[in-house]
């Protein structure tokens, strides 16, 4: 039987949206899929050496529970419904939300983005960065992790056209 193929386009550059492409790509590789991820636009943030720019924004995101990752259970169970207008006006709100999210991730035994990313690379998941958006955003190749390839839409379709599953994230 031929190896199955998974192609993913990763377009989001926030901490929460960093997870789906890396979780799916690493798991697919473990299941024996040949896997490629094409990083374009804000998705390029996911393959930078420095991932400190990956943040989570609760602003205008009504689906995001705002719970504290510490304290007694009754306290951790409280959902802090903070109005958008306040979120926008409190300086450093995103940084605090990001810190709390990272703590929640650690508390739940969920891998860090960097860990999942290197697990993908160890499992031979191929990462391709969109050369056009690298230039558009003024990045240098040295901003990105080793092992990336650079290409365009045609490069993506070469693999995606043969894939069994193709996801736009």
């Amino acid at each position: 039987m031929d190896e199955k193929k998974l192609a993913i386009i990763a377009t989001k550059g926030t901490l929460d949206w960093a997870y789906p492409p890396f979780i799916l790509a690493s798991t697919a590789a473990a299941l024996g899929y040949e896997t490629q991820v094409f990083f374009t636009f804000y998705g390029l943030q996911l393959v930078r050496k420095d991932t400190s720019g990956l943040k989570v924004s609760p602003i205008a995101n009504p689906g995001m529970p705002m719970k504290m990752p510490f304290g007694p259970k009754w306290f951790r169970d409280i959902n802090w419904n903070i109005p958008n207008i306040l979120q926008c006006s409190i300086p450093g709100y995103e940084s605090v939300a990001t810190m709390l999210m990272k703590q929640t991730i650690a508390n739940n035994g969920v891998a860090t983005v960097e860990e999942l990313r290197s697990l993908c690379q160890e499992a031979d998941v191929k990462f391709i960065a969109c050369q056009m958006t690298v230039e558009l955003f003024g990045f240098e190749h040295s901003d990105f992790i080793d092992g990336l390839e650079y290409g365009g839409a045609a490069t993506f379709f070469e693999f995606a056209g043969e894939s069994d599953i193709c996801l736009f994230i």
């Binding site: 979780i23 690493s26 473990a30 035994g109 891998a111 160890e122």
Partner: protein, 75 residues
């Protein structure tokens, strides 16, 4: 049940138990048995799906007091 290697995946969440198991199986030889202990309730369905898709045989899957134990025989 006899096993050749044991993997402690307690406290780890999706997809780490599967990824660590795959990595450990890569270091083992065909016919050897890997025992995995996990605490992620999602791992029950995940290990069944992993076995089905990779051809490694899931010999047993049990739960005891919030701990899930799996025995997988390498293809």
């Amino acid at each position: 049940m006899n096993f050749d290697k044991e993997l402690d995946a307690c406290g780890l969440n999706c997809p780490l138990p599967i990824l660590r198991s795959k990595k450990t199986l890569n270091e083992m030889s065909s016919g050897q048995v890997l025992k995995i202990v996990a605490t992620d309730p999602g791992s029950v369905k995940d290990f069944a799906a992993f076995a089905k898709q990779t051809g490694n045989e899931l010999l047993s899957s049990t739960e005891d007091g919030g701990k899930y134990t799996f025995f997988i025989k390498k293809k």
